[in-house]
C-alpha cells in the first residue's frame, strides 16, 4: 500500500442524487407542458418561453458573477423559474415585459435572499406578481388557443416595443374573423359573466394555465412522474387539490347556484400548475411532513377564498405567496416527533412479533426508568 490514505468521517458512501439531478428532472418533466403550450399558441408562446428563460439565466449569471449569491447556472434552477414564469404569462404578453418579469423573479425573488435554497418566496411567482402590478392590462388580455396560422404569425402584442402601449389584439382577432372573446379565461367568464365552461373544455385544453394554458391532465401526469421518482413531495399537491376541492364542495353544497362545482375549481385556472410545480418548490415549502399537509391545505383554502370573495378571478398566486410567508411558522409548529418521545403506550400495529405477556407498558417503564441511565454507577458483580 504505497498510496496515501485519506481520512474522512462516516458515512463513506453517498446516494447518487444531487441538486442538479433534481432540478434537471423537474425541467425535463416541464418540457411536455411547454411543448403543449407552444402547440396551443404557436411562435408567440415559444418566443415567450425562450425570452423569459434567457432573462432568468442572464440575471442568475449576473448575480453569480458579482458574487452576491451562491449557486451557478449549471444547477438548472434558473431554468425552472424561467419556464414556470413563462407558463403563467398570457400568450401574446409583450416579450420585453416577460424579460422584466424574468429579471425581477431572479433578482428580487432569489438573489436578494442569497441564491438557491435561501429564497422565501417562489421566484417565478414573485416575477409574475411584479408584472401583474406593473402591467395589469397586458397581463389580463388573452387570445384564444389553436388560432390558425399561430406557427407563422406572432400575436401582434408579443413584439411590442418597450415602454409603448401594445397594439390592440381585438382588432387583429376581428381581422382574423374570430369573435372578440379575448380577455376572458374560464375563471373570468364564471366570475364576471356567470358562465360555466364545459368540463371537457377544462380538461382538454382551455384552462390549465394561470392564464389559459396546457391541459391540467398533462400537468397532472408530469407531476405524477415527479412524485413517483420522488423528485417532488406528493403530499403538497394532494393537500392543495384535496383542500381546494373540499372547500369548493362544501360551498357548492350550501348554494349550488352561486358557487361553481368543485370539479371546476380544481381543474380551472392555474391551480394544477400551482399545486404541482409552484407550491412544491422545495426551498419555499416546509420540510416536515406534517408541515407539508398544513401548507398545502392553507394554499387550497386560500385559493378558493380568493377566487370567490376577492375582486380577482384567479387566486393561486397569492395563496402560494402568502403560504410561502407562513412556511417558517408552519415548520416551527409541525416538527416531527422524535423516536421514543411519542408517548404511545401501545405497541404499533404491523410488528412482526407479538410482545411477551410480561412486557411492561411504557408507563410502568417510565416509572422504572430512573432519570439517568440504568447501568451507571452500578456496583461490581
Amino acid at each position: 500500500m504505497s498510496t496515501a490514505i485519506e481520512i474522512r468521517s462516516a458515512p463513506h458512501i453517498k446516494a447518487p442524487r444531487t441538486v442538479e439531478q433534481i432540478m434537471r428532472n423537474v425541467v425535463g418533466s416541464l418540457l411536455p407542458v411547454c411543448a403543449f403550450f407552444v402547440y396551443q399558441y404557436g411562435v408567440s408562446a415559444l418566443a415567450s418561453l425562450l425570452c423569459v428563460t434567457a432573462a432568468c439565466l442572464f440575471t442568475e449569471r449576473l448575480f453569480v458573477k458579482t458574487g452576491t449569491q451562491s449557486g451557478s447556472l449549471s444547477d438548472w434552477s434558473a431554468v425552472i423559474t424561467g419556464l414556470l414564469l413563462a407558463l403563467t404569462l398570457p400568450p401574446g404578453f409583450p416579450l420585453w415585459m416577460g424579460c422584466v418579469a424574468g429579471v425581477v423573479a431572479i433578482a428580487l425573488g432569489k438573489a436578494l435572499f442569497g441564491g438557491i435554497g435561501f429564497n422565501v418566496f417562489n421566484p417565478a411567482l414573485v416575477g409574475r406578481a411584479f408584472v401583474q402590478a406593473a402591467f395589469p392590462v397586458a397581463i389580463a388580455s388573452y387570445t384564444p388557443s389553436f388560432l390558425p396560422g399561430r406557427f407563422i404569425n406572432f400575436i401582434p402584442s408579443t413584439l411590442a416595443w418597450p415602454m409603448m402601449q401594445p397594439p390592440d389584439t381585438t382588432a387583429w382577432l376581428q381581422n382574423m374573423q374570430i369573435d372578440g372573446l379575448s380577455g376572458a379565461t374560464p375563471l373570468a367568464k364564471w366570475k364576471f359573466d356567470g358562465l360555466m365552461v364545459l368540463p371537457q373544455d377544462l380538461l382538454s385544453s382551455l384552462a390549465g394555465h394561470m392564464a389559459v394554458g396546457p391541459s391540467p391532465l398533462l400537468i397532472l401526469a408530469c407531476g405524477a412522474y415527479l412524485a413517483l421518482r420522488r423528485f417532488m413531495d406528493w403530499r403538497i399537491p394532494v393537500a392543495i387539490l384535496g383542500s381546494a376541492g373540499l372547500t369548493a364542495w362544501m360551498l357548492y353544497g350550501l348554494d349550488p347556484v352561486r358557487y361553481p362545482n368543485p370539479f371546476f375549481m380544481m381543474f380551472s385556472g392555474g391551480l394544477m400548475l400551482g399545486a404541482i410545480y409552484m407550491a412544491t418548490d422545495m426551498a419555499t415549502s416546509p420540510v416536515t411532513p406534517r408541515g407539508m399537509w398544513v401548507y398545502g391545505a392553507l394554499i387550497g383554502v386560500l385559493t378558493v377564498v380568493i377566487r370567490y370573495y376577492s375582486g380577482l378571478p384567479e387566486g393561486v398566486m397569492y395563496a402560494i405567496l402568502i403560504s410561502n410567508a407562513a412556511t417558517p411558522l408552519i415548520e416551527r409548529i409541525t416538527q416531527p416527533t422524535p423516536f421514543g418521545k411519542s408517548g404511545l403506550l401501545q405497541p404499533k400495529r404491523g410488528a412482526s412479533y407479538p410482545l411477551h405477556p410480561e412486557y411492561i407498558s411504557r408507563e410502568e417503564a417510565n416509572a422504572v426508568t430512573p432519570k439517568k441511565r440504568l447501568l451507571k454507577n452500578k456496583p461490581k458483580p
Binding site: H12, R362, R373
Partner: protein, 457 residues
C-alpha cells in the same frame, strides 16, 4: 421505491436502502496466519483499560490472560498467539491517540489452537457464574460498539428481563461477518443464547435477521427444530438501514418505541449481537478467552475479499496484504485510498496501517476515491429543504433544521428544541442529502461541544 414500502411489510419508520454490496456472503470464513508481530492495545472497549499482567520478555501461550480488568467495565485480554512479549509501549490506535499496547511476537510454529483454558460444564452454571465466566472471557460486543458483554447481560435490580433479542441484522453494506457466523457457528450461537438467557433471566430468545439473509434464518431455524427448543425463535425482518440499531430492531420486531434516554432493559429486553453470542457459546464451555474474531475484508480496493478469522492484534497492513489490497492499485488513481474500520455508513476511517484489529472491528473496507460516488466532484449546495433527510432520519429528527443551526453554531438550541441528543449518528441524512451537506459530521461536532460544555459545568 420508498412509497411501496407498505408492500414489503412494516418495520421501523423511515430509514434508507443503500446498495448492499454483500459480495462476500457466500464464501466460508477463512483463517488468517499470524502476523510477525501482534499489537494488543489495552483499551479495546468502552470502559477503563485493563492493567497488563505480563512483563517484557515473558513467554505467553495462546489464550493466556495478559491483562486484567480492574474496573467493572474493563475486561481482560488474552494472548492472541503463543510467543514472547516483546514490548509494552505506546502504539497508534484506530481511535487516534497512541495507547499502551502489549506487543507479542508469535513463535514461528505456533498453532492457532487455544492452549489455555479449562473446559467446564455450562449446563450446571447459574446466572452469576455465567456472568463471571463471560467477564473472564474478555468478551465485548463484537458488533462494533465494544461494550463489555457481562455488563450488558447484567440486569439492574429494579428491572425484570423477559426477552433476549439477538441482533443478526447486519444492515451495513459490505459487511458479512455476522452472516457467516450465523451460518457456520449456528450451534454455538444457540448455546450462547441459552447461556445469556440464563444469565439475564429471560424466558425466551428471539433472533432478528434481515430478510436479505434467508439462508441464515433457515440455518438457525433448522438447529432450533433439531434440538426441539420451544423458547428460541428466529424472525426475518425487512431489510433496511439502520436496522442494526438496538431501538430500530426492537421497533421492527415488537412495534415498541424504547423511550428516549432509556435502555431496552427498562422494557424487559436485552439485546446482543449474533457474533457476540456465538463467541460466548464457543468460549464458555471451553473456558477460554477471546483471542480472535471474524472480520469482513471487502471494498472495491480488495482483490481477495472475504470473511477472515483474524487473531486480535493483527496489524491492518498484514490483513490487507493477505486479502490482496497490497498490490499497486495501478488501475486506480494513484492519489489516495480510504481505509474504513466497520461499515461504510458508520465505520471509522483510519490513518495508519499499523493499527491493529481489535475486538470491536467488524470489517475493513478499502475504497478508492472513484468508488465513492463522485464525492469529490460533487458541489456542496446550500440546503434546498428537499426534506430527504427528514424522510430518512430513523429517529424522527429534523436534520435540515439541525444543520442550519449547526452552521450558525446554535448548539444549545439544537440540543434543547431539536433533540440533538437522540441522534445516534447513523448517517442516513448525510447519505441522502442532494446538497452534499456534511450533516452528521456537523452533529458530531455539536454533540462534542455540548458534552464539553456539560462537563465544564
Amino acid at each position: 421505491m420508498k412509497f411501496l414500502n407498505f408492500l414489503r411489510g412494516e418495520t421501523f419508520a423511515r430509514g434508507i436502502h443503500p446498495p448492499q454490496n454483500k459480495h462476500t456472503a457466500h464464501t466460508p470464513i477463512r483463517r488468517l496466519p499470524f502476523a510477525p508481530e501482534l499489537v494488543v492495545p489495552l483499551s479495546q472497549h468502552i470502559g477503563k483499560a485493563p492493567r497488563p499482567m505480563v512483563q517484557v520478555g515473558q513467554e505467553v501461550v495462546r489464550g493466556q490472560p495478559i491483562a486484567k480488568g480492574e474496573d467493572w467495565l474493563s475486561v481482560p485480554h488474552h494472548a492472541p498467539a503463543t510467543g514472547v512479549v516483546e514490548a509494552i509501549e505506546l502504539r497508534p490506535s484506530a481511535r487516534g491517540p497512541w495507547t499502551e499496547s502489549i506487543i507479542i511476537r508469535p513463535y514461528a510454529g505456533a498453532t492457532q489452537e487455544d492452549l489455555w483454558g479449562v473446559p467446564r460444564d455450562t449446563s450446571v452454571m447459574d446466572g452469576p457464574e455465567i456472568l463471571q465466566a463471560v467477564w473472564d472471557s474478555g468478551l465485548v460486543g463484537l458488533g462494533g460498539a465494544a461494550f463489555p458483554t457481562h455488563a450488558k447481560l447484567m440486569v439492574p435490580k429494579q428491572a425484570k428481563v423477559h426477552t433476549l433479542v439477538v441482533n443478526g441484522c447486519e444492515c451495513e453494506p459490505y459487511l458479512t461477518c455476522d452472516h457467516r457466523v450465523m451460518l457456520e457457528n449456528t450451534k454455538e450461537l444457540i448455546l450462547g443464547m441459552q447461556l445469556a438467557m440464563r444469565a439475564t433471566g429471560a424466558v425466551r430468545g428471539i433472533v432478528g435477521v434481515e430478510d436479505n439473509k434467508p439462508d441464515a434464518v433457515a440455518a438457525i431455524q433448522s438447529v432450533i427444530d433439531a434440538t426441539r427448543l420451544d423458547n428460541i425463535f428466529v424472525e426475518a425482518v425487512p431489510t433496511k438501514y439502520p436496522q442494526g440499531s438496538e431501538k430500530m430492531l426492537l421497533m421492527a420486531l415488537f412495534g415498541v418505541e424504547i423511550p428516549s434516554g432509556a435502555l431496552p432493559v427498562s422494557l424487559g429486553m436485552v439485546m446482543n449481537n449474533v457474533g457476540t453470542l456465538a463467541a460466548l457459546g464457543q468460549l464458555l464451555p471451553a473456558g477460554q478467552g477471546l483471542t480472535e474474531r471474524v472480520v469482513t475484508i471487502a471494498g472495491p480496493g480488495v482483490s481477495r475479499p472475504g470473511d477472515y478469522r483474524v487473531p486480535l492484534g493483527t496489524p491492518i497492513s498484514f490483513v490487507l496484504e493477505w486479502a490482496g489490497a497490497s498490490a499497486q492499485p495501478s488501475s486506480h488513481a494513484p492519489s489516495a485510498c480510504q481505509l474504513v474500520l466497520g461499515g461504510p455508513m458508520m465505520g471509522q476511517a483510519v490513518a495508519s496501517l499499523d493499527t491493529p484489529i481489535t475486538k470491536g472491528v467488524s470489517g475493513i473496507l478499502v475504497f478508492h476515491p472513484e468508488d465513492m460516488a463522485d464525492r469529490d466532484g460533487r458541489r456542496t449546495f446550500p440546503c434546498i429543504k428537499c426534506g430527504e433527510c427528514v424522510e430518512s432520519c430513523p429517529m424522527g429528527l429534523n436534520p435540515s433544521a439541525l444543520g442550519m443551526l449547526a452552521a450558525k453554531r446554535e448548539y444549545e438550541l439544537m440540543g434543547q428544541r431539536y433533540h440533538l441528543g437522540d441522534c445516534f449518528e447513523c448517517g442516513c441524512c448525510t447519505y441522502v442529502c442532494p446538497s452534499n451537506i456534511p450533516l452528521v459530521q456537523q452533529f458530531r461536532i455539536a454533540k462534542q461541544v455540548l458534552r464539553e460544555k456539560a462537563s465544564a459545568l
